[in-house]
Amino acid sequence: MDPLEVVVRLIWLVGAAGFVLGLMRMNSPATARNGNLVSAGGMTLAILATLVLLAVDGLSATGWIIIVVGVAIGGGGGLYLARGVKMTAMPQLVSLFNAVGGGAAALIAIDDYLRLGGPGAAAGAISLQISIPTVLDIVIGSITFTGSLIASGKLMGLKITPSRPVIIPGGRLITGAMVAIVVIGAGYLWLGNVSVPVMFLILAAALVFGITMTLPIGGADMPVVISLLNSFTGTAVAMAGFVLGNDVLIIAGALVGASGAILTKLMADAMNRSVLNIMLGGFGGGEGTVAAAGGAGASVRELGVDDAAIQLAYAQSVIIVPGYGLAVAQAQHACRELGELLESRGVDVKYAIHPVAGRMPGHMNVLLAEANVPYPQLKEMEEINPEFDRADVALVVGANDVTNPAARKPGSPVSGMPILDVDHAKAIIVIKRSMGRGYAGIDNELYANPKTGMLFADAKAGLADLVTAVKGL
């Protein structure tokens, strides 16, 4: 091995170490941002070293053009999207970046196969050592590509990829057929046959499979799905590493594959779901189930805006509980305004952040931070729960499941999920549009609690009305 290659490989190793150390630091909020920088530093080193190696080895003009143009397009596009996106639209963007990563990994294997098995290539068998990772790379990379695109589309709420679960007629049949094609095709190639058409057949089947797998899953489950596909991309990249015989791809890919798998499980656990359940399309209808208005709404007490405003304005301490409805209504600014107004009147205002309120982990933190709510007022669940006992009013804005006392008893879909102890407050005000259900699709007995007053309104409009009313007092 010539000295330059040795140095480049050592730098790759340093880069890989940067990825591991970076991820490690991203485990805790205080060091997370620095961890991302460490990881980015490792990436920069690895890429620069590769460029130097290619340059010294005599990269052709066409080669330079491809690389420069590709980097310009991809980098420009990525930067533009990443800079411009709204905070709340970040998950769909992550999914998009994941899609292109998987696509790139698949392209590497496709290109490699065309070289080895294409018309210009020397005839002869392709060793298992190459054909196994090549086929795996193509299959996994393609599933990720289309699957992540669909997931991204669902979160954006595009017409062709509605956020609700889409049941394609005969969907199971199509999915089954695709699996059969992939399995048979892979077996054929691994038995020693070389055939470009079969490779393309596998590719096509995997692309379709990615679509039919993701379409039937509800939009609310997408964060978990994206995380799973992220782990897939890692695996595909590791396979690309085996194809090219490149250690840094193997290390980084395997690292993401494994850590992504663990993370997927953690995410599913946090919302009390199993990954298998999600992939097979469970109750995760999300907003789809809202239509079923609560039948248990027998003895609900409705509250007018002015009554609510008086309760809030003359309270000593108010805890605001934001949920998915706040995000949908984009009511975070109105919420902060109300909070500030109450504070200025001497009320002690805090925000209770449930870890899975909303539709992605950290959703509420991101939203409220965007609206410039002071960080010290945001309290994690464990921290705020004992304080409900002392709170005069708990103001629930578009949250439902995360406040449902049914979680404390067995036998309901939310059983076992830790909840915010909203019902311990002296009085409870709930802002939502109707008696509609939340993500889990069940009724909430909190609304029947005599301490609870329901303020039926869109979150944004309702909060704005409250602000006006409090100002008028």
Partner: protein, 106 residues
């Protein structure tokens, strides 16, 4: 199986173990940034894409590798930038205004 493949397998297994070990008890609010951070890392596929670009001779290969390079770069650049933006939201305290800024304002 030759020595090279065995070495590659060893590296593969060790990296998987690293991946398992590296995620410990993460607070739920960090799940999305962590996913996004891991997502940027597999942008390392750019290295592989540059290699196939360097050895592409026919047009098809050149087109494929151009797409691969563009895709991979998008993954890298976009991934790190968006992760950083997410994590900015999580800083513990609003940064105190530096004295210089205060003076200027005064």
């Amino acid at each position: 199986m030759n020595t090279e493949l065995l070495a590659a397998l060893t590296v593969f297994v060790l990296a998987i173990l690293c991946g398992f070990a590296v995620i410990s008890k993460v607070p739920a609010t960090l799940h999305t940034p962590l996913m996004s951070g891991a997502n940027s890392i597999h942008g390392i596929v750019l290295v592989g894409s540059m290699f196939i670009a360097a050895s592409a001779t026919d047009l098809l290969s050149q087109v494929l590798s151009l797409i691969a390079v563009a895709f991979a770069t998008m993954n890298v650049v976009g991934g790190y930038v968006v992760t950083d933006r997410m994590l900015q939201m999580f800083r513990k305290k609003p940064v105190a205004p530096r004295p210089a800024d205060v003076e200027k304002a005064a």
